[in-house]
């Protein structure tokens, strides 16, 4: 288990460095950052001064190493637009995105697991077919469009929920639904498949034979085993979701990190964009690392193989 953990940790760290290198090289794809900061009316000497001030005249790898060491201690440089440290800026916004992510994944799990269990209890029944139908529909629905439809129906027609902003819990209802429904089909299918597999196992037959009630068999014996892969999928989905929150946050003007990313891209504020790409990647890496560990801990075949 220790070897497995170390291997995975090594991989995670290596991936993090590669992602950081890629996100840092964005700055150089953009052309000359110095003239971008200086603005359109700057003279050549102004640009030269800015280049020296920000250190853009040094070799690429030196700048990368510099950026990386600063980033390791939590310093992502200054935002071009806000003229304040990127880390402060992101720290302010991250809690909203985290909250949204937690709400989204909870919503997805709380709806998808019962649906998956119900579908597995009666394969090919009306419930099973409805659940499958919903998951196929859900996968085809563009999330930004789904968000707009919710706004039209619940904010404009019915007037129940605020269309945008992030000040109260009611602002989070629609974004949670939009972000959560995206992960639902996968979770539901996995729950259903897992339940179907587990229900054929010997210990389920034993439980039934000794007279355990159907509810007890379902929840105490079957679900507990079927839910393990679902939890690890949920962790991975959570990583994806935080990255996908950019769309949801921009629809609902929820001022989280995703919204900040969208604004910063529009403003060419590259230090902020680089830092956000790295942070969103880091979330994904940490979540998959943890889910790998949990899986290996629960299932010895993984850590040996």
């Amino acid at each position: 288990m220790l070897m497995f953990t170390l291997k995975r940790l090594g991989l995670a760290i290596l991936v993090t460095f590669t992602v950081s290198l890629l996100s840092f090289s964005l700055l150089f794809m953009a052309g000359d950052p110095a003239s971008a900061i200086a603005g359109e009316n700057a003279t050549a000497t102004d640009i030269e001064a800015i280049r020296a001030l920000y250190g853009f005249d040094r070799p690429f790898l030196v700048q990368y190493a510099d950026w990386l060491f600063a980033a390791l201690s939590g310093d992502f440089g200054q935002s071009y637009y806000f003229k304040m440290p990127v880390s402060t800026l992101i720290a302010e916004r991250l809690s909203t995105t985290m909250l949204l992510g937690v709400c989204g994944i909870s919503f997805a799990l709380l709806t998808a697991i019962p649906l998956g269990v119900a579908a597995a209890m009666r394969p090919n029944s009306l419930i099973d077919r409805t659940a499958l139908f919903l998951s196929v529909m859900g996968q085809a629905m563009p999330s930004f469009w789904f968000g707009l439809v919710l706004i039209v129906v619940f904010s404009i027609q019915l007037g129940w929920l605020p269309p945008s902003g992030s000040s109260t819990w009611r602002h989070f209802i629609m974004p949670t639904i939009v972000l959560g429904y995206y992960a639902m089909p996968a979770i539901m299918r996995l729950t259903r498949a897992g339940m179907l597999e587990v229900l054929n196992a010997d210990y389920i037959r034993t439980a039934r034979a000794k007279g355990a009630s159907e509810t007890r068999v379902m929840f105490k014996h079957a679900l507990r085993n079927a839910v393990v892969p679902v939890v690890s999928l949920a962790a991975v989905q959570m990583g994806f979701m935080l990255g996908g929150s950019i769309v949801v946050e921009s629809i609902f003007a929820l001022h989280g990190a995703g919204y900040l990313a969208w604004e910063s891209i529009g403003r060419n504020d590259l230090p902020t964009v680089q830092a956000l790409i790295l942070i969103f990647s880091l979330f994904y890496i940490v979540f998959t690392f943890l889910s790998d560990l949990v899986n290996a801990w629960l299932d010895p075949r993984i850590r040996v193989g």
Partner: protein
């Protein structure tokens, strides 16, 4: 009823493989629906100039915001109404199908080439090649697609070609994962070993022995990734950092309609439904192909 030689022969006569496949294909409603709907979209896109007399770019400020045919005050000249610049909405929708289909097709093609090459190499050669490919897949999965695509498109400028290339370079992960595991399943089968034993070149083994046996998985992933690319393009254009106006992209139409969705919800309903049905059709086609070609892999 007496069993004669004839009836027994009839019972024993098994349907040909082609007949089994035909039955599977036409018995699969999702597949049939997906195929038909996709064919309709392709036809609409190809024959767009014949189906509407209007130019999707032509503005007519005297005929702005005409409602579609099911609402009062509709103009029979503009079946789906006109947008805020007086452009015919049906024409924009039809030409928009071209954009979506082209992006889906070419992005899936680029990512398919990259992902298949990586996946097949990893699966066939194993060892270090596999390690490197697996690592690259991990890196790719860790990067937030929407964010990276938005940033790169913003830097390079939003044109159709840039969006296609960026999506193509970002969506190869599933191809690589699926091709790697498919090749792993067949690379040590007897016929591959036989080909190796009689001294076939690696190239020949991969192209003639392995590829034909994994190509069904490739097609399934390609359809699903095509749908994925279409959704992503729409999202990027909706966020203002994909295809740029005045191109008639569906995502852009939804984004422009958003300003007026308070009073004119049909402006976002029409392109949204078109996008939804197209993606649904492609997904159903992909799922159907998977069920038909490899029923044992049904999820």
């Amino acid at each position: 009823m007496a069993r004669t030689i004839e009836t027994v022969a009839e019972e024993l006569r098994t349907p040909s493989p082609a007949a089994i496949l035909r039955k599977r294909v036409f018995g699969h409603y999702g597949l049939v629906f997906g195929l038909c709907a996709l064919a309709v979209f392709v036809a609409l896109a190809v024959f767009a100039p014949l189906l509407t007399p209007h130019d999707p770019y032509a503005q007519d400020l005297l005929a702005r915001m005409k409602p579609p045919f099911w609402m009062a005050g509709a103009d029979p000249n503009h079946l789906l109404g006109t947008d805020h610049l007086g452009r015919d909405y049906l024409a924009r929708l039809l030409y928009g199908a071209r954009i979506s289909l082209a992006i889906g097709l070419f992005a899936a093609l680029i990512s398919g080439l990259i992902g298949t090459a990586m996946g097949v190499a990893a699966g066939y050669f194993g060892g270090r090649v596999d390690l490197v490919v697996t690592f690259l897949i991990n890196v790719r999965l860790a990067m937030p697609v929407v964010l990276v695509a938005l940033a790169v498109v913003a830097i390079l400028g939003g044109s159709l070609q840039v969006v296609v290339c960026v999506l193509g370079l970002l969506l190869w992960d599933r191809f690589a994962v699926v091709m790697r595991s498919s090749v792993l399943q067949v690379r040590d089968l007897e016929y591959v070993n036989a080909a190796r034993a009689i001294g076939c070149s690696t190239r020949r083994i991969i192209l003639r022995e392995i590829m034909p046996n994994v190509v069904n998985n490739l097609i399934v992933v390609a359809t699903l990734e095509m749908a994925h690319a279409i959704l992503l393009e729409a999202a990027l254009s909706f966020l203002g950092l994909g295809v740029q106006p005045p191109t008639p992209s569906w995502g852009l139409m939804i984004s422009e309609g958003k300003q007026m969705m308070l009073f004119e919800p049909w402006l976002i309903a029409i392109p949204g439904v078109a996008l939804f049905v197209l993606v649904l059709a492609i997904n159903l086609l992909g799922d159907g192909l998977r069920d038909v070609t490899a029923p044992e892999n049904r999820g």
